[in-house]
Amino acid sequence: MHVKNLTKRYDGKTVVNSVSFAIPKGKVISLIGPNGAGKSTVMGIISRLIARDGGTVDFEGSDIGKWKSRELSKRLAILTQTNNIQMKLTVRELVTFGRFPYSGGRTTAEDQEIIDRAISYMELGAFEDQFIDELSGGQRQRAYIAMVIAQDTEYVLLDEPTNNLDIYHATNMMKIVRRLCDELGKTVILVLHEINYAAFYSDYICAFKDGRIARFGTVKEVMTKENLSQVYGVDFEIMEIAGRPLSIYY
């Protein structure tokens, strides 16, 4: 996936300003940056949820706008934070929706197998007949991830997956992200607020500031005192723990 000169304006205010980058396949890429830096907007544009004002998003040879929505949904999955469902929906039914791009409302035996695997992969077997709105935040998030796994896409986009989760569930979520990449071979792109989660669990970091990319590179390249201070405007110290750079900010 190649992004070129991406631009987005809201009421004349430019929130994404000619952003260009290429996404390496089979890696975990974290988009970080202060509030309003444009990272979520970029995420929305490359997942076709938000319309852009300029630039191109090249996905496997053709622009994302030229793809048939149904076809694209077999290659690329997005999970946002605005999932308030008014329906009575069980975990299994939610996961079943992941097969919608393939077989519409009617699932085949093969679909059922994929759904079974997604549910057991996320260890949701015990809850599969419970209603989504009766689950805890962490369980619900896992149910959604199971749906994304059932969707069986090469690319997975997650918008702030650790939001509203406590340390235990957030850390588990990041471990799941890592497994999606390492075990299932997916390319995972996520927007994160927690710099240290990005540093510990991703391969590449893309740091945004004022609608532009401030730094894009491997974790080691981006996680330096100077880079982070420049992006966030606060003082940083970098320490190395388990061979990974972690930051302390104050």
């Binding site: 929505s69 949904s73 605005t82 329906m87 299994r92 079943t96 919608f100």
Partner: protein, 325 residues
Amino acid sequence: MNTKAVRANRQKLAFLAALVLLCAAGYMLVGVHFDNAKLVQYAVKIRTPKLIVMLITAFAIGGASIVFQSVINNTIVTPCLLGMNSLYTLIHTAVVFAAGSGSILAVNANYSFAVDLVLMGVVATVVYSFLFKKTKHNVLYVLLIGTVLSSFFSSIQSTLTRVMDPNEYDNLLATLVASFSNINSEIIVISLFVLAAIVFALRRELALLDVITLGKDQAINLGVDYDRCVRRLLLGVTLCIAVATAMVGPISFLGLIIANLSRQLLKTYRHTQLILGSALFGMIVLVGGQLLVEHAYSYTIPVSVFITVGGGVYFLYLLLTNRRA
């Protein structure tokens, strides 16, 4: 898939269908003098069209309400918000005001049905198709526009009635209450035809309803052309309500009750079942209500009074118990 729940729901729907049959049989048979063949014939002739109209209305309102709530993603909205009730009231008041209650437009059922349907159709298309596009597919704007239009129409209507001849007003008032009498077979056929056309035109979008209830982001993620789909569904909902309202009068508040009864009973996201349940509940309420009105209250209270009173109480109950929303 969760086959047990699906089967349980099928049984519930079968039970509802049986209740509808019971109500319909009751409506057709209660109070008929079977000893006189002519009287039997007369009763059948009078009651059959009314029964058909109630069934059609229930289906149109019930289905439209479920679709509307799912598109808006809120289960306590009523299609009243689309403004068709007040537009109906305004059209009828304006006709009586301009042409008099004796004019052919007011007296001839076919003409007044045609006028209602055309005007409502035009307004529905402009507001819920064109403006929806203009507002960049924001359903909240559409609701707001509907609410504002409702009060706009009601204000004009009340201004007209204020300067109207009191005798004319008296005549008018009778036509502003939902009623199932005075509907001929031509209107029934046209309504059925229009409804069938709407359902046929929307067959693809209706199949996507289950996914649409996951919300805009998820629907797009799963490959649904969300904006176009929602626009067409909204237009279809408005047209369904317009047909039902043109046929029997302001009745769309019924939708709130039957849609929620269906949701409470079936507890599912499957729209085929929800729509069916809602339509069946509608039939029970209308036919059963009319049975009571005709035989227990001998026409002193119109069925819409029951619907409004019962619906109001039920609405409060929903508001108080639905803390999740």
